[in-house]
C-alpha cells in the first residue's frame, strides 16, 4: 500500500495539466480546485497511515551518469513527524480548495490562467517537501514551492501584487540559497551523496560532535534559510506584502501551511540530525520573542483585513518557534519532560494556527467576495447579513485570542506552563503572556470592525454560497473540537515527539478540556468549563426574550450613527508604546540606507564594466580574491 504516497501526486498533476489545457479558464480553475481537493484528501489518508506505520516508496527516475547520479532515484518516506505536517496540508488544502470552487468565480478569465496551473502544483510541492527523504530532493521541492507560490501571489497582476511577489521571491530565494549551502556542505563533507534522512540521523550527530565549527556554520545557514521562509522577525518583511495579495484561499494556505514548512525543517534538523543544543534553543527563543512582539504590535496598527491577518501570522510563528526553542533548551538543560511538553506545544500550536488562521483568511475572503473591499473602515455590521461567516469568524477570533475552551488556549497554556517557571526562559514566557493579550486586542478590532460596528454606509450583501461557508464551518468545528478534546491531537503528537527520541509517555500528561497537565490532578478541571457553559445557559434561558428599542442617544434627537475608525482603536496605548514603532522605523531606514549604498557600489561597477578592459581586470581580481579566500586550502 506504499503506492498511496503517489496518489496526491497523480491527482494534482492531472489537475495542473487540465488547468493548463482547458482553454476557458473559469472551468479550468474549477477542475483544478476539485482535483486538488481530492489530492488533499489523499494527503490526509497518507498522513493517517503514516501515524500508524512508516510508509516508504523509492522511485528510479533516470539513468544518468556521474555528475547527475544523485538525482537518479527519489525516495518518499512518511514517518510520524512528516505525518503531522501532512495532516495540516491535507486538512487546510481540502478546505481551501473547496472554498476556491466558488471564490475564484469573481476573478476575470485571464487572471485565472496562472491560478489554474499553479495551484495544484503548489499543494503538490508542499506535499513533496514533507515526504521527500533526501536532502537534495528536499531542496529541489523547496525551490519549486517558492516558485509556484510566487505565481499565485502575482495572480491578480496588479502592480502591488507584482511588486510583492517579486520581493517575496527574491527574499525567499536568497534564504533558500543559504539552505542550499548548508545542504551542499552536509552532503559533500559529512555524509556522502546518497544519504537519506535515516542515515543522516545516524551519521550527522557523530560528525557534529567532532566538528563544532561545521555545526555552527550549518546551523547559522539553516536558521537564516528557515527564518526567511517562516518570516521570523528580522527577515519577515516579505510576508505582510505577499500574503494579502494572493487569492484568499491561497493566502490561507500560505499563512496556514507554507510558513510551517521551515518549522518542519527545524524539527527535522535540530532534533534528529543534530545533537540537541541549548545555545541554538536560546537563539531560537530570542528570535521568537522578537517575532512575537513586533508581529503583534504591527498587527495592531493595520487597517486592511488581510494585512492584519498576515502580521498576526508573523506573531503566531513566534509562538511556534518559542515552543521549539524552549523545548530544545529545556531538554539540553536536563528538564526532559518539560522540554518534551514544549515541543508538543509547538507542534500543537502549528496545527492550531493552521486551523484558525486558515479560517480567518477564508472569512476575510468571504467578506472581500461579497463587499469587494479589504479595508476595515468600509465594512460593518455584517453579523446579521452573513451570520454563518460571522459565527465562524467569532470562533476563529476567540481561539486565536486564546479564550478557553478553544484550541488556541490549550497550546498557549502548554507553552506558559513550561516556560514561566524556569528563570532563564521566564522572560520569553512573560512576553508570550503579554502578546496573547495584544492578540486578543488585534482580533477584537478585526471582528468588531467587520461584523458588529455600524457601517459607514449600509452594505447590501448576503451570505456566501455553500461551498464557501462549509469549509469555514468545518475549520471552526475543528477549532472547537481540539479545544474541548485536546487528546485527539495530543495523542499522535506525543507519539511524534517520542519518535524523535524524546521520552514523554501519554501517562505523564493528564488531558482535560482546555488544559493539559503534567502528572495527575485531584479533580477534573472539566468542571471549570462545564460550569461556564451551564451558568451562561441557565441565565440566558432565565432572562428569556429581550425587547428592542432604538439606540439611546442621551436625549439627542439625531441618530448617532458614528463608528470607531479602525485606525482609532487603542490609540492611547499605541501612542504610549510608540517607541516600538519608532525602533521599527529606525531599523527600516537603516536597512534602506544600507541598500542604497550597496546599489551605488553596484551601479558604479556597472558603469565601470562598460569599458571592457576595466571590467575584465575587475573580474580577474575578484576571481583571484575568491580563489585565495575560498579555495586556498582545498586546492
Amino acid at each position: 500500500m506504499n503506492q498511496a504516497i503517489l496518489w496526491p501526486v497523480y491527482l494534482s498533476v492531472i489537475g495542473a495539466v487540465l488547468g493548463w489545457l482547458i482553454p476557458r479558464k473559469k472551468p479550468a480553475a474549477f477542475i483544478a480546485n476539485l482535483l486538488t481537493a481530492f489530492a488533499s484528501l489523499a494527503i490526509c489518508i497518507v498522513a493517517y497511515r503514516g501515524f500508524f506505520s512508516e510508509l516508504h516508496f523509492g522511485l528510479r527516475l533516470f539513468n544518468a551518469g556521474a555528475p547527475l547520479n544523485l538525482l537518479n532515484s527519489v525516495i518518499f518516506h512518511v514517518d510520524k513527524l512528516s505525518a503531522v505536517f501532512l495532516a495540516i496540508i491535507g486538512v487546510l488544502g481540502f478546505c481551501a480548495s473547496i472554498y476556491g470552487l466558488s471564490y475564484l468565480g469573481h476573478y476575470d478569465e485571464e487572471k485565472l490562467a496562472l491560478y489554474a496551473f499553479h495551484y495544484p502544483l503548489f499543494i503538490l510541492s508542499m506535499y513533496l517537501v514533507v515526504v521527500s527523504w533526501n536532502l537534495i530532493w528536499f531542496i529541489v521541492f523547496w525551490e519549486l514551492m517558492t516558485l509556484f507560490s510566487q505565481f499565485l501571489v502575482v495572480c491578480e497582476r496588479s502592480e502591488r501584487a507584482i511588486k510583492a511577489g517579486y520581493k517575496y521571491f527574491c527574499m525567499t530565494k536568497a534564504g533558500a540559497d543559504f539552505l542550499l549551502l548548508a545542504v551542499v556542505f552536509v552532503t559533500l563533507k559529512a555524509v556522502g551523496l546518497h544519504a537519506d534522512y535515516g542515515s543522516l540521523s545516524k551519521l550527522l550527530p557523530v560528525y557534529f560532535a567532532e566538528h563544532e565549527g561545521a555545526f555552527a556554520a550549518i546551523t547559522i545557514a539553516l536558521l537564516i534559510g528557515a527564518c526567511v521562509k517562516a518570516a521570523v522577525v528580522p527577515l519577515h518583511s516579505w510576508l505582510p506584502d505577499a500574503h494579502p495579495e494572493a487569492p484568499s484561499n491561497v493566502s490561507a494556505l500560505l499563512s496556514g501551511v507554507m510558513i510551517k514548512m521551515p518549522i518542519y525543517l527545524m524539527f527535522r534538523f535540530f532534533l534528529t540530525f543534530a545533537p540537541v543544543s541549548a545555545t541554538v534553543g536560546l537563539i531560537i527563543m530570542v528570535l521568537a520573542a522578537l517575532t512575537l512582539l513586533f508581529g503583534v504590535m504591527y498587527a495592531l496598527i493595520q487597517t486592511d483585513s488581510k494585512r492584519l491577518l498576515a502580521f498576526s501570522s508573523v506573531e503566531q510563528i513566534g509562538y511556534i518557534t518559542l515552543g521549539l526553542g524552549a523545548g530544545m533548551w529545556l531538554i539540553a538543560m536536563g528538564h526532559e519532560s518539560l522540554g518534551a511538553i514544549a515541543l508538543v506545544a509547538a507542534l500543537f500550536h502549528t496545527a492550531n494556527h493552521a486551523l484558525y488562521k486558515g479560517l480567518l483568511f477564508l472569512v476575510a475572503g468571504s467578506v472581500l467576495f461579497r463587499t469587494g473591499t479589504r479595508l476595515l473602515d468600509r465594512l460593518g455590521r455584517l453579523f446579521s447579513k452573513m451570520p454563518l461567516t460571522a459565527v465562524a469568524a467569532l470562533v476563529g477570533t476567540l481561539s486565536i485570542a486564546g479564550i478557553p475552551p478553544l484550541n488556541g488556549f490549550v497550546s498557549k497554556w502548554m507553552l506558559y506552563s513550561t516556560t514561566l517557571m524556569q528563570p532563564q526562559t521566564s522572560l520569553f514566557g512573560a512576553i508570550a503572556l503579554v502578546v496573547s493579550a495584544l492578540t486578543a486586542a488585534v482580533f477584537v478590532k478585526f471582528f468588531t470592525t467587520i461584523f458588529t460596528q455600524p457601517p459607514e454606509k449600509e452594505l447590501d450583501v448576503k451570505e456566501v454560497p455553500f461551498t464557501m461557508w462549509a469549509p469555514q464551518m468545518l475549520l471552526a468545528l475543528l477549532c472547537i473540537t481540539f479545544g474541548i478534546f485536546p487528546f485527539l491531537s495530543l495523542r499522535p503528537l506525543i507519539s511524534t515527539v517520542n519518535s524523535l527520541g524524546i521520552a514523554l509517555s501519554r501517562s505523564d500528561l493528564s488531558v482535560y478540556p482546555c488544559v493539559v497537565i503534567p502528572g495527575t490532578a485531584n479533580l477534573a478541571p472539566i468542571v471549570v468549563i462545564a460550569l461556564i457553559f451551564i451558568i451562561t445557559l441557565v441565565l440566558a434561558i432565565a432572562i428569556g426574550k429581550v425587547q428592542a428599542k432604538p439606540v439611546w442617544t442621551c436625549g439627542n434627537r439625531d441618530m448617532l450613527n458614528l463608528r470607531l475608525a479602525a485606525s482609532a482603536y487603542y490609540q492611547r496605548f499605541r501612542k504610549e508604546f510608540g517607541f516600538i514603532y519608532e525602533f521599527g522605523t529606525a531599523v527600516q531606514n537603516l536597512i534602506e540606507g544600507l541598500w542604497q549604498q550597496v546599489r551605488l557600489i553596484c551601479e558604479s561597477y556597472e558603469r565601470l564594466s562598460y569599458r571592457l578592459n576595466a571590467m575584465l581586470t575587475g573580474a580577474v581580481i575578484i576571481l583571484l580574491l575568491m580563489v585565495i579566500l575560498l579555495g586556498g586550502k582545498a586546492l
Binding site: 528563570p423 477584537v444 468542571v527 440566558a540 470607531l564 504610549e576
Partner: protein, 293 residues
C-alpha cells in the same frame, strides 16, 4: 466534602460581592460628609434590576450583545472554584493560576464585545478604553506572575499561597496591590465606565436583568482580586482562616474606598503612563527574582 466547601465558597461570594459594594459606598459617603445609602442598597438595586425586562437596541448584534454580560458573570463566578476564598478549598491543578487570569480576561473581553455589539458610539469609546487599560495591566501582571512562578517554582495556586516573603516577592506584591486597585476600575481608573463623561461606557445600552449581571460581574471581579490578594498573606489552613478572611475583606474595602473618595478621574493616557511605571517595577522584581533574592 470539597464539593460542599466549594458550594459554601460560591454562595459566600455571591452574597458578599454586592454587599462589599454597599460597604464601600457607605465608606465613601461618610468620607464625603454624606449620610449615604444603607450597605444593603447594592443588593436591592440588583434585585430591582433583575425584575425589570431587558432592552436591546434595535440594530444591536443580538446574540453577542445578549450573551456578553452572562459570559462575563459565568467566567468570574467559575474563577472562584479555583481561588480559595472563605474556606481554603478549591479545585487545584498544575498551573491553575493561568486559567484564573484567562477567566478574568475572558470576562473583560466579553464586556468589550458586548459594548461593540451595541451600536452606541459611547459604548465603542468605553470598550476601546477598556482594552487600552487591559493591555498595559496585562504587561504588569505578566511580570508579577513570572516573579511568583520563579520564586516558588510553581504556577499552582495551592503551592503559591501563602507566599514566602523574599525581596522580589515583596516588590511584586506591592505592585499587585496597586494593580488590584486599577483592575477593579476604581475611581481614578474608572475610565472605561466614566459615568459623567461617556455614561457607563460599554454598559450604556444594558438594562434590566442584563445590566444586573454586568454589574454583578464587576463586583465579582473586585472580590476575586481581593481574594487573590488576601491569599498571599492569610494562613492556608485552620479555623482562623475564615475568620481572618471575613475581617480582612471589609478592611481592604475601607482602605480602597477611602482612596477612591479623594480622587478625580485620570485620563486614559495618565492611567497608561502609571501602569507603565508599575510594569517597570514588576520587571525589576522579576530581575531580582532571577538573581535569587
Amino acid at each position: 466534602m470539597t464539593w460542599v466547601a466549594l458550594a459554601v465558597n460560591i454562595l459566600f461570594v455571591l452574597f458578599y460581592a454586592p454587599l462589599m459594594d454597599g460597604i464601600e459606598r457607605q465608606v465613601r459617603a461618610r468620607l464625603q460628609c454624606r449620610k449615604g445609602p444603607p450597605i444593603t442598597q447594592t443588593w436591592w438595586d440588583i434585585l430591582k434590576l433583575l425584575r425589570r425586562p431587558p432592552v436591546a437596541p434595535e440594530k444591536a448584534v443580538r446574540p453577542i450583545f445578549n450573551l456578553a454580560p452572562l459570559v462575563a458573570f459565568a467566567a468570574l463566578l467559575t474563577a472562584f472554584i479555583l481561588v480559595p476564598t472563605l474556606l481554603p478549598h478549591s479545585i487545584t491543578f498544575w498551573g491553575d493560576l493561568i486559567l484564573v487570569i484567562y477567566l478574568m480576561n475572558s470576562a473583560t473581553l466579553a464586556l468589550v464585545f458586548g459594548g461593540f455589539a451595541s451600536q452606541n458610539p459611547y459604548a465603542h469609546i468605553g470598550a476601546d478604553r477598556e482594552v487600552n487599560i487591559f493591555l498595559v495591566e496585562e504587561l504588569a501582571l505578566a511580570f508579577v506572575i513570572v516573579t511568583l512562578a520563579i520564586v516558588n517554582g510553581s504556577l499552582t495556586i495551592e503551592k503559591l499561597f501563602p507566599v514566602q516573603l523574599k525581596l522580589s516577592v515583596a516588590i511584586a506584591l506591592i505592585a499587585f496591590v496597586v494593580l488590584v486597585y486599577i483592575a477593579s476600575a476604581r475611581i481614578p481608573f474608572d475610565i472605561p465606565e466614566a459615568e459623567p463623561e461617556i455614561v457607563e461606557g460599554a454598559l450604556i445600552e444594558y438594562s434590566g436583568s442584563q445590566l444586573a449581571f454586568a454589574k454583578y460581574a464587576i463586583y465579582l471581579k473586585r472580590l476575586l482580586l481581593f481574594s487573590l490578594l488576601l491569599n498571599f498573606v492569610l494562613p492556608r489552613n485552620g479555623v482562623v482562616r475564615p475568620l481572618l478572611f471575613v475581617i480582612a475583606l471589609p478592611i481592604l474595602s475601607i482602605i480602597y474606598a477611602s482612596i477612591e473618595a479623594y480622587c478625580g478621574r485620570y485620563r486614559v493616557t495618565e492611567a497608561i503612563r502609571l501602569l507603565k511605571r508599575i510594569s517597570i517595577v514588576t520587571m525589576i522584581s522579576w530581575v531580582i527574582a532571577i538573581a535569587g533574592w
